[in-house]
Amino acid sequence: MRKPEQELAEIKSMMERSTRFLSLSGLSGILAGTYALIAAGMAYAWIYYPNSPFGYRFSYITEEAILFKLLATALVVLVLSIGTAWILSQQKSKRSAGKFWTSASKRFVMALAIPLIMGGLFCLALFTRGYVIIIAPATLIFYGLALVNASHFTLSDIKYLGFCQLGLGVLSAFFPGYGLVFWALGFGVLHIIYGLIMYYKYDR
């Protein structure tokens, strides 16, 4: 008989590996953050330039054309980020000789997708109704909820990214007009920090 400690470790590792999606790539977090920061820079140029983004009340988003440009940019960043995460995670699971599309990864994607898609549709509704000012907090909050929800099915570190997005989202609801700054912090800076931590902790 093997050592009982070894047996228990074996059991625990099997339970984790069979229920959690472990090949989420840290590098994709860094890239997603970078895309978001570039997009935020572009948005800043359209809306505020030459004023500072902190110059609330100096600049209003009034033109329809700019609004749709912003929406299109946000969608491009979303698709790019998801695509990058998908491809890099697939590569990572190949490297660690695991299968990518397992019941564990399906559960992870489902847990992430439900709050994200519903939140996205809700924000689209806000957009068409003209409540542009509340969209930044709403996206951050829904994204945070999606992450906390999905954290049960992957490495649990992602939970803390979720909490940070939630905090940031609620905070930004109290500071209307700074949506772009909070967005850049949440989707840009937080993603890069999280990606770096995950990369150094698990990927190397």
Binding site: M1, P4, E7, M14, M15, S18, T102, S103
Partner: protein, 97 residues
């Protein structure tokens, strides 16, 4: 001593199979093969062994044209596994004192 050492879980493949079935309501043959990195024959014989003891149940179905064999833990299997766990835990406790 509390708990019982179960011979069925002496083999590491069977122990792993049961660990997986404790936290997944069902798990299919190919996924087992993937995660455990064992050969078809080896896995099949261990699964048959557990099935014979009525620790796991089998259900066969088709996904499209591919046959799919799903396994799940029976009540007796879960009970036996928990007893086995209890035994291991108590063993560790005793070794410490």
């Amino acid at each position: 001593m509390k708990g019982t050492y179960d011979k069925a879980f002496e083999n590491v493949v069977r122990l792993r199979v049961m660990s997986i079935l404790m936290v997944n309501t069902e798990y299919d043959f190919n996924s087992f093969k993937e995660i455990l990195e064992v050969t078809d024959g080896n896995l099949a014989s261990h699964l048959r062994n557990l099935e014979k003891q009525e620790y796991i149940s089998v259900s066969k179905s088709f996904v499209g044209r591919k046959p799919m064999t799903n396994y799940s833990a029976t009540e007796a299997g879960k009970q036996a596994f928990l007893e086995h766990l209890k035994f291991l835990e108590n063993l560790i406790k005793e070794n410490k004192s």
